[in-house]
Amino acid sequence: MSRLLPDPERDPGVGEALRRLERARTWDEDELSQRIVLAARDQLARLRTPARPWWEWTAGWARVAIPLGVAASIAAGGILVSERGSIDPAWSDADSLTVSGAMLSAATLPAGEAQVTDQLLVPASEEWLLSGALGR
């Protein structure tokens, strides 16, 4: 629609009033240009050293990350081995036998709830001590 319409007539009064506003201005573009170029210094420097693609970034870090990872794995392995060596095997076996024996008797004894509890945890009363002593 607008292509069919000619441009409106210019208004000499408005035009002259606007021109009058610009007449008294002084223009020093040189100073402003220098100011802009100075402000753009950092941005221009960044353009000179563009951001690397991700694979280059990864490759750069890999040089440090891979040896670090290998060293950490070796250290972790060493710690595990030394820790295992420091555990008393006799104590460990006896302990595990006690636990598994209690579990086994708790599972196999045809007993009530109290007995199961006695086997696994703590006896409900001191009778066990008395019966044990008399039994001997």
Partner: protein
């Protein structure tokens, strides 16, 4: 002396293309040439948008820095000027909005008055002030449209392209802007 505002590109197209490619690689000298090529026109537009010379200079600087931020996306084969002036106008509209939020009192264009002539009466001074106020009260894009049409002699299509809006919008801005300014000038004409 009327401030001449170049409408055509101030830099040769081939030279401009080369400059943009160099700026994309961070060449400071090329950026300096690009700035010097467009700073005059940019300052004229910024003055019209902002009304204050210091604000206008800040706007020009801001627009060049914004343009530099996006320079990697610029197609060097396309005219830099039309893209850059859109960046400038958008930055100006943003700055104007921020300034209007800060200031609540009506702004007055900070333009030095020309030397008084014998014909300058107190009444004419008052009317001129009213005209300045009416101009300052216009939304920045409207103000720019009136200025580009009445002073620079640009056509509807050209203004629309430079602002990135439709010709219909430009006609509406011109109509609204001139109506306000004519009302302020009515007493002067009478």
């Amino acid at each position: 002396m009327t401030v001449a505002v170049a409408i055509e590109p101030p830099i040769d197209r081939d030279a401009e293309q080369e400059l943009i490619l160099r700026v994309q690689r961070g060449d400071t000298a090329a950026f300096d040439s690009l700035v010097r090529g467009y700073v005059r026109r940019a300052r004229a537009i910024a003055n019209r948008l902002m009304g204050d010379p210091d604000d206008a200079d800040d706007l020009v600087q801001d627009a060049f820095l914004r343009a530099l931020q996006r320079i990697a996306t610029v197609d060097p084969t396309r005219p830099f000027g039309s893209w850059f002036f859109r960046v400038l106008v958008n930055a100006g509209v943003d700055a104007h909005r921020r300034r209007r939020v800060r200031r609540t009192e009506p702004e007055v264009l900070d333009v030095p008055s020309p030397m008084p002539t014998p014909a300058d009466s107190a009444e004419q001074g008052e009317i001129r002030q009213r005209f300045d106020q009416a101009l300052a009260a216009l939304p920045p894009r409207q103000r720019l449209v009136v200025w580009s049409f009445e002073v620079d002699g640009m056509g509807m299509k050209e203004i629309a392209a430079s602002l990135g809006v439709t010709e219909v919008t430009v006609r509406w801005y011109l109509h609204q802007g001139r109506r306000a300014l004519r009302a302020a000038l009515a007493d002067l004409r009478a």
